[in-house]
């Protein structure tokens, strides 16, 4: 797919719609450069299991307010992430390829409320947000493949009816 500048712009626009995590790098690398992200994922997957973030029980406790555990995990992650992002911005830290680090702002729309509530309902039922779903599957709960396929179907249905939904 060879793009003109305008097509490139449209592509970037679609890629960024309803998505926080995007690739902001303009560099083109061979595919195997992506293995470093797999290593990052492996570390994260181990943490998800060992801190019992993948546990349906811990999610129930979180929403019964009977354990501080999950609030501790998310709270600590936010504080660490916040400090890191502010440092990157202040010190103008570059990526290892010398690129300026870009963190474009998100736009608010009502989808964040409606979608957020819908996701929350599913979170307490499945006991997992999307990340832990992958770790649960790896952790020997093969049945989660059904949940994961259904989550892909849910994403597809959202894409199909996106224009008709309030935002």
């Amino acid at each position: 797919m060879k793009n003109t500048a305008i097509e490139e712009l449209i592509d970037t626009d679609i890629r960024h719609s309803d998505t926080v995590c995007t690739n902001e790098s303009a560099l083109q690398h061979p595919w195997w450069y992506n293995f470093k992200y797999m290593i990052g994922g492996i570390v994260l997957g181990i943490v998800f299991v060992k801190a019992e973030i993948i546990s349906w029980f811990r999610i129930q406790e979180m929403f019964h307010l009977t354990s501080f555990h999950m609030y501790g995990v998310i709270g600590t992650a936010v504080v660490v992430g916040l400090c890191a992002v502010q440092l990157i911005k202040k010190l103008n830290i570059k990526s290892i390829y010398g690129e300026k680090i870009m963190i474009p702002p998100n736009q608010f729309n009502k989808g964040q409320i409606y979608g957020g509530l819908i996701f929350g309902l599913g979170w307490a039922i499945t006991g997992a947000c999307p990340g832990p779903l992958f770790a649960q599957l790896g952790n020997g709960f093969g049945i989660i493949s059904v949940t994961l396929l259904s989550a892909i179907a849910g994403t597809w249905v959202y894409g199909k009816f996106r224009n008709k939904l309030p935002h």
């Binding site: 995590c21 995007t22 990052g40 504080v79 992430g81 979608g115 996701f119 849910g154 199909k160």
Partner: protein, 188 residues
């Protein structure tokens, strides 16, 4: 050392490592932390069906698929080498509520009364796997991100929209765990 790693890890250790994922991905290649988008890239790669929302160059985001395959492998490594032989420690009041649902087996991270293949063609499966998964996939994309994208990446970048999304996640979760699940278990 291995013994120590096999025990459940403290929340501060987990929070620290998850938090450090944010700058790691940014510094490694200008990537913003998030996981639910991987589901969208699977749609774009496998079933785009001419839907505009899936008509983008998903290969630009292939890093995200490597990332989630890594999370799967991390789960597998923990399963093979770092299993905790002890049952999950669940707080007294929650385990009482769960006993009311007929859940008494805390030997694994997931209640095996629900999460096993024998339940595949039952009402339980329809609710816990099919409906639950659908709500997660539909809701996260509608919200534009999940716990990682909004609650960690977005809040780290002081985004108001991510704070609103995070509050909505929690409200949905409280409703589901305290109102919906008791109803579901009543009819199962």
């Amino acid at each position: 050392m291995l013994e120590l790693l096999r025990q459940p890890w403290h929340w501060s250790v987990a929070g620290l490592i998850i938090g450090l994922t944010v700058p790691t991905l940014l510094i490694l290649g200008n990537k913003r932390f998030g996981i639910s988008s991987s589901l969208r890239h699977v749609c774009a790669a496998c079933f785009p069906a001419n839907i505009p929302f899936f008509k983008y160059d998903w290969k630009k985001e292939i890093w995200n698929l490597f990332f989630v395959i890594g999370i799967f492998l991390g789960g597998l490594i923990a399963h093979l080498f770092l299993q905790n032989p002890e049952p999950v420690q669940v707080s007294e009041s929650t385990s009482q509520i769960l006993a009311g649902y007929g859940i008494n087996d805390f030997s694994q991270l997931m209640p095996i009364e629900i999460f096993n293949w024998e339940n595949l063609f039952t009402l339980k499966s329809l609710i816990f796997f099919v409906l639950g998964g659908f709500l997660v996939g539909f809701g996260t994309r509608y919200a534009g991100g999940c716990t990682s994208g909004h609650s960690i990446m977005g809040l780290s970048n002081l985004q108001l929209s991510s704070l609103i999304a995070t509050i909505s996640f929690l409200v949905g979760g409280f409703i589901s765990a305290n109102l919906l699940l008791p109803l579901i278990f009543k009819f199962l």
